[in-house]
Amino acid sequence: MFTIIRDLIRYNIEFAIGLLILLLLIAAVILSFFSPYPASEIYVVPPDLPPDAEFWLGTTSRGQDTFWQLMIGLRNTFGFGVAVAFLSRILSLVVGLSAGYAGGRVDRILMAINDSIMVIPQFPILVLFYFVLKDDMNWLMLVLILSALGWSYDARLIRSIAMSLRTRPFTTQSVYSGMSMRKILVEEHLPYVMPIVFATTMNNMIWSIGMEITLSVLGFTDVDTPTMGQMIYWANSHSALISGIWWWVAAPVAAIVILFIGLFLLSMSMNEYIDPRSRLNRMGN
């Protein structure tokens, strides 16, 4: 594990940059626990101050310190991405591995469900959920909904690998030595799909965080949990750009752009790492 990361940093500049951004993000998450102000209290500092030595990123019209809001927002947004990725990975692993291994009717039924979820237009469905749930649409609810929507593509990917694993001799041997299906899937097949799972995790996070930001900017989530999208939502609703409080908008937008580029670089370099041809190609240079 450690040598893999070391090699990746040495040979893959994209990975190094992505990792650096991820470490900065983790630092921000840790820092957010030391915030001197409670996350959702307003008018704790003088409003509308431009960035200076005391308030590094200025203050908002709601009397909050932009810097600490940003740190807490990053924590909630990142936590959101991790939670969705974790839950939807479990779903896609269970469905993908069992569909690929069992085949036949189980496979057909699971894939029918899978394909139906793939063609559902996601954004309208999310708006629909907000329409129904209104005030019950909180952070946890959104995690559950996005996890339920975000596993199908990767389940298909995992299934295709599991189908080829099933025909390998070691699977036949495990069956003859009396291992249960669950045991074969967890102990024998899971390690083979793990690299793919890691690479898709990054893509899944890009997708889910993007959705969360879009929904919260539009005000379609619980507006009291500070996230990146929430910050822009409040800035917009106070017309921050028109009244010249640009730092309120610039801080979250810049943070989001950096965060996404970091995740994207990581996913790109991991995809490359999984494909041995491009890995050798790079090391050859």
Binding site: S116, P121, F123, K134, V253
Partner: protein
């Protein structure tokens, strides 16, 4: 051929099933909402003064009937399907009694127009740059452009559109940032109107193109760089065929097939990307309509829009699946 027909029939069966399940799910989700449209309408009327309780009771009965809300959920579900098959989506609840289908078809041309032009532009730009970048692999300029476009790709739609809005609306205000045409514009077809509509569509289209071009570029570059190493290309190079001709007739010709499938797919996904762009730029298409419907609690409009998008996406995926064996003989119809 017989095998192909069986394949098409099976795929069609799947299409019908997916549409049925999707729309049913949407129906039951919307009907779980705590909002009671009849009570909302009545309170909107009775807000203006006291009314006779008998008149209110009569109004309640009439509205329930007009909205198609009589009977239990299951009866409503059956009547919903029987109306939907005839193409009737019922009256809108917030703009009663305008039919939902009329409202949707008023907004649809805006979305479709913006979407198709933006998709075609980003398809052309992305594929041209991708083919060039795959063919002239040493070019530094192409590398920088590719990196820029690929870097834009992961940024959420909303944020990119928002950045464009800040740049061209506040920092350098040259383009109109909201709406589909000038306010109070004369909506008869004329040259100025067309110009006005184009001016208003530049920013939303630019957001869509910037996000879309990157993925075309990556795909095309990978396809091109695979084909460039094929023997027949090397042979043509040795035979002295000009590089422009090789690129156009030898390389791109072969690389474009999978990209065309992707084009059909992205035209089908009309409801995902444009919704957000429309909201940011206040474009009068179905995205804005959907958001307004949600805010107004108009569930027959929400249901109509969601049904339409499910049907649209499912048909697009179906068409791609049945067309791809015809476009590329290497794909087997199974």
């Amino acid at each position: 051929m017989a095998a192909y027909l069986v394949f098409v029939a099976r795929r069609f069966g799947q299409l019908v099933l997916v549409v049925f399940l999707g729309i049913s799910a949407t129906f039951f989700i919307t009907h779980m909402t705590p909002v009671d449209p009849v009570a909302e309408s009545i309170s909107a009327i009775t807000n203006f003064g006291k009314s006779d309780p008998e008149a209110i009771e009569l109004m309640r009965k009439t509205l329930t009937e007009l909205y198609g809300l009589q009977g239990n959920v299951f009866e409503q579900y059956v009547s919903f399907w029987s109306r939907l098959i005839r193409g009737d989506l019922g009256p809108s609840l917030s703009a009663f009694p305008t039919p939902v289908s009329q409202i949707i078809f008023r907004a649809l041309p805006w979305t479709v127009g913006l979407m198709i032009s933006a998709t075609l532009i980003s398809f052309t730009i992305g594929n041209t740059l991708g083919a060039l970048a795959g063919y002239y692999r040493k070019s530094r300029l192409l590398k920088i452009i590719s990196l820029g476009l690929i870097g834009l790709q992961p940024i959420p739609y909303y944020i990119l559109a928002f950045i464009l809005l800040i740049l061209f609306g506040f920092v350098w205000p040259v383009l109109p940032i909201t709406g589909g045409y000038e306010m109070n514009a004369d909506l008869t077809l004329s040259f100025t109107l067309v110009l006005d509509i184009i001016r208003h569509s530049i920013l939303p289209a630019m957001a869509l193109v910037l996000v879309g071009a990157g993925s075309w570029l990556t795909g095309m570059r990978a396809l091109t760089s695979n084909i460039v190493t094929e023997d027949y290309v090397t042979f043509a190079e040795l035979g002295g065929v000009g590089s422009t001709r090789i690129l156009r007739s030898y390389v791109v010709r072969n690389a474009i097939v999978p990209q065309l499938t992707g084009l059909a797919m992205s035209l089908g996904a009309i409801f995902n990307g444009t919704v957000i762009t429309e909201i940011v730029f206040g474009y009068p298409g179905i995205g804005t309509l959907l958001i307004d419907a949600v805010h107004a609690g108009d569930y027959s409009l929400v249901l109509g829009l969601a049904s339409l998008s499910i049907i649209g996406v499912a048909i697009a995926v179906f068409l791609i699946d049945i067309l791809s064996p015809l476009l590329d003989p290497r794909i087997k119809a199974e």
